[in-house]
Amino acid sequence: MKEEKEKKEISRREFLGKAGTGVAGSYFILSSLKQAEAVAKENPLQPPETYFGNIQVQLTVNGVKHKVRVHTNTTLVELLRDRLSLTGTKVVCNHGECGGCTVVIDKKAVYSCQMLALDADGKDVTTIEGLLKGEELHKVQQAFIDKDGLQCGFCTPGQIMSAYALLLNNPDPSEEEIKTAMAGNICRCSAYPKIKESVAEAARLLKA
């Protein structure tokens, strides 16, 4: 599994090299990412306590119980990202239209940007981080790598959570059922055919 992952990364870099464009740009991005990581370790970007409000909610995220204080108008995704530092869940449209913020609650996919944190009180939330077991990818994640179900990757956490929710409830979905279940997630790179393949592959991997 790990070898395959490395192979994939190499082929991407080779592609960038051969394409000849954007090489300098990607080196720049890579180095500044490393710098940003170093800065973050020294200075974790935590807003002041008062930012989070004074109403307490209790929820379970990826199996871990949390007691946190929020404002009435804090959304679930703000709680996940800003308070619990689970930044795998993305805010894209912030209007419940694109699916970038999809998380799973009670086996159902929901938009965490379109839900108040207060309404997550007592709930069991699974985010993209919750799929990972240590260093081992979840089979849905592996399927997206194997079938190249992404281009830029920004929508991918949401796509994977929708696929995960589908397969929790329907381990053997038809092509039409995959299409319906993935309808709430927009991919602006339009990797849809590969996303559909990835979900079918995930179903196969999970059954195996």
């Binding site: 009435t72 699916g99 159902k108 996919a109 379109q114």
Partner: protein, 325 residues
Amino acid sequence: MTDFDYIQPTTLQEASKVLSSDGINTLIYAGGTDALSLLKNDIYKQHKVLNLKKIEGLNYISFDKTNGLRIGALATISEIGSSPEIKENYNIIHEAANEIASPQLRNMGTLGGNLCQRPRCWYYREDFDCIRKGGGECFAYEGRNKFHCIVGGGPCYIVHPSDMAVALLALDAKVVIHSNNGERTIPINDLYVLPQDDPMNETILKPGEIVKEIQVQPPVKGIKSGYVKFKERDTWDFAVVSVGAVINSTNGIINNVNIAFGGIAPKPWSEKSLNKSLSSVRINENELEGKLKNLFSNAETLSENAYKVPLVRNLTKRLLLRLVQ
């Protein structure tokens, strides 16, 4: 988004009490799929949000052959869309529910919220001081209006966005409304108002009144029903035009039919004269074309929405052919 008090009553009586004392300043909240957008866009600047989800006993779907169907206001759209009893006995509700929004929104949105959602008009949703927000002008009338109404408009030209309301209107469903002065049950058609009667609200609900339940009569033997929705974006979207029909026919001849339309008027729409003119008609393309050629010929179309007239005729024809053949 403005900060607000989040009020979480556990009974309808408590909720109604809060709403009657300060209803104008309180936003009713359940699934949040529409309400949260209105708060984020500052359409609502209320400082009180009343969450209905802590009220027990409002999330149910119950069906039996003698009493028909009852759906609680807090049942989610995905619960309605995946109910085997609804699929078997009220296909129109099943099809409408599964046409609503995306899986995530269907998991969150409730029946009551779907019926009481606010219009999608882009002037209403954006920073325009339009009639529906208490301003003096409908910007769609002389502006961009390709998604606006072709009948029932003026002085505001919204269309009602609910798919469930159209399906329930074709079924002659009833709405149970709770208020602390007592419960009342009204036909779903009477829930909605035209802008000429009230340009700022889509429903007759007064502060303190809450949609509690939907009732549908038991299915008549041999009846068929369905819902067809045309969207600009096929994956998921609000209806450009939608049609729901409940039809009773024998050997391809209509005994009676009840048709409802969405996407063409500020409220879910029906044409009694059309229903009447279709009885005893043999369902085939030619017959239907003849009967539908004058449908909405009296429409008052705006500069960009006249296409809805042939669209609604063709969708109606398509649906009836599908249901009977």
